[in-house]
Symmetry: C2
Subunit: 397 residues, 2 copies
């Protein structure tokens, strides 16, 4: 018998699998090239050439047991030093390798942070819409996720509501910018106000409240938009980063956590992150890809690939009469569904071979997510389907 | 403030770090080549040449986004199929890719199994001496580890004692063969008797009891010894495997779990393992190394490297008057300490630049562990130190 907690999780995952199976059936009928699967956030841009080059150079230049063997659970010191220096030079943040630990992607990193700080019964706050896995990550440690309702006008963090939601039990506030599912970049002024709010609430309740910024989409920003770096806006801040999207290495599970030196109990916290990385079973971030990162600090995927997709699809949705905030980052669009029931709407979309994800999966019903990390020509071919979908729901342009 | 549970874990880890620092100080005084650090199980044999070859071939032959992108959380189907076929042909086990999920090493795999089966308050049994991380893995899920006392004559699982320890709360029994820290290979007759005992206890208590076999050292066996395959000896069995030692890829975090098809709720369990792999933050086993494994199924490290180390060191210890079971696998020796206080003994050993781990760290006080995964010539140079240590404690040959 599987554990009680797992029963509902398995049921839920079967629903996702059912959708996947439906896509396969669809492909059998209309051909794979005519299924417009916008449901998954799997990077479509290729990793930069520097990645392959780095692997080849490492294999020919570095000692094989160093490359594939155990190292400190926090990761190779030389790699952490290089990353710390690049963060210093890009954001002026006062950090060294001692502020950093390498993690099994951002998902691994968030679990390591939660293991380190959460006691059973603690609350973590996040802002709708949000990445649904956050709830599972909190519940791994018998803590709960509380969702602050969305600011539907901007999808910026709803600070007014947030103030009401912070209690003495609030151990952390999580943000995700550029955001999944909206693609919105949180503004510096809003983040600074959030920092002030957290400081005030720490004082009010006599507690420590952590700010955790999950930033796997940091490198995917368009139109020259600058993504504010929150690390030094607030003392008790962790930033979780991943190379999954930045270098299109989602399967390799490579990322890091960086912590603000001014954090309460900084040294003990870094030690605890190191131990948590070990005892959760990660042990260390994959070794070869740590070394690859050390050689690819200035490499980036070609974000124009995603920008082209966004521009085409956004423009078309607006022309069809959909209402949508133009996203400045990530590879998602989050338009308003023309009916309140977002699940019914996404079901209707299947008629046109469109696979979309209901906003309720992100704590924001009445909307839907389009993951546009797919081929440009598939997006072109999908436009007619979006037009028909708009017609069905009497949207006018 | 870090979480309550983490406080003692950090203190404990600081003790390990202190030992590491001591080794560094020692090296500064006597020279790194004269520090005999037998404390860590980091493979010293090089990965077989097939690993590098596989990486190069994958990078030149396979689509780059397939190699580095997300796949099913259980791992690439083609890789799982190949591994399943190799298990079938080696052990005659009736399994397919549906019995397998790829994991972030064996440590990741064990946590995925525990997440899948453990409810808070459950008990997991293991046999002393045992790998200390098992306790942390259980406690990750609010379950507890109960340790069955060692059979000091053989270091085989102590089944007589085990029978007394199994209760209605026992959810799993864990074994580790070849064993860390003893190097002992559990015998087929003993394992079959254990299977019978578990069947009887399932009946007696009306419960499901899982057998979990942790086998990272399976490929490290000497003198032609065959390591029994427990998967089909008992219905509710999981085997956790890792390529950390088999291919000297400890840092790459690559392994798998295989489950017996006759297991209760087999399909739901496999689904739950898939979900657990995702929500614990592993997401999937590192993608490139999954593909490497698919091409390296017959590759193995040169176990003669370890055998030579074992033979030299074992022979010398016996000649010095130490008492030790000759290990048939892994890369550890677990001799009896000449005094009851194994910690005091390991402290005394430092005088001779020997870094050893007290048996109490493995639930077996009065013994000590030597990890002989190091250079042969370092072992040669260490022999004089072991002689002096034996003299100090009046051991005679």
């Amino acid at each position: 018998m599987i554990a009680n907690k797992m029963q509902s999780l398995v049921a839920n995952s079967s629903a996702i699998r059912a959708m996947f199976e439906e896509g396969k059936k669809m492909a059998a009928v209309v051909g794979a090239e005519n299924v417009f699967d916008f449901s998954l956030g799997n990077p479509s841009a290729e990793p930069p050439a520097a990645v392959k080059e780095a692997i080849l150079n490492i294999l020919s230049e570095e000692p094989v047991n160093l490359v594939h063997g155990y190292m400190n659970n926090s990761g190779y010191e030389d790699v952490r030093k290089k990353i710390a220096e690049s963060i210093q030079s890009e954001f002026g943040a006062a950090i060294t390798e001692d502020n950093l630990i390498m993690t099994v992607g951002a998902a691994g990193g968030l679990n390591v942070i939660f293991k380190t700080i959460l006691n059973p019964g603690d609350e973590v706050l996040t802002f709708a819409p949000y990445f649904a896995e956050y709830r599972n990550y909190c519940e791994n440690f018998n803590a709960s996720l509380t969702v602050v309702p969305a600011d539907l006008n901007s999808f910026q963090p709803n600070l007014q509501a947030c103030e009401q939601y912070i209690t003495a039990k609030t151990k952390a506030v999580m943000i995700n910018t550029p955001n999944n599912p909206t693609g919105v970049v949180y503004q510096e002024a809003v983040l600074r106000e959030l920092a002030q709010l957290l400081l005030a609430k720490e004082k009010e309740f006599g507690t420590d409240i952590y700010l955790i910024s999950d930033e796997p989409y940091r490198k995917l920003a368009y139109d020259g938009v600058k993504i504010p770096y929150v690390l030094e806006m607030y003392h008790n801040t962790f930033v979780g980063y991943s190379y999954s999207k930045a270098l299109s290495l989602a399967g390799e599970r490579i990322g890091y956590i960086v912590a603000n030196s001014q954090m309460v109990d900084f040294k003990a916290t870094m030690d605890a992150l190191n131990v948590a990385n070990r005892i959760l079973g990660f042990v260390n971030a994959p070794s070869l890809f740590q070394r690859v990162i050390g050689r690819c600090l200035t490499a980036e995927v070609d974000v124009n690939i995603y920008k082209k997709n966004r521009d085409l699809l956004y423009q078309h949705l607006i022309e069809c009469g959909f209402s949508c905030i133009k996203p400045e980052g990530a590879f998602y669009l989050f338009p308003k569904a023309p009916i309140a029931d977002d699940k019914a709407f996404c079901n209707a979309a299947k008629k046109y071979n469109l696979l979309l994800v209901p906003g309720s999966a992100f704590g924001c019903p009445g909307y839907f997510r389009i993951a546009y990390c797919t081929d440009f020509d598939r997006i072109q071919r999908s436009l007619a389907s979006f037009s028909k979908l708009a017609e069905e729901f009497n949207l006018s342009n």
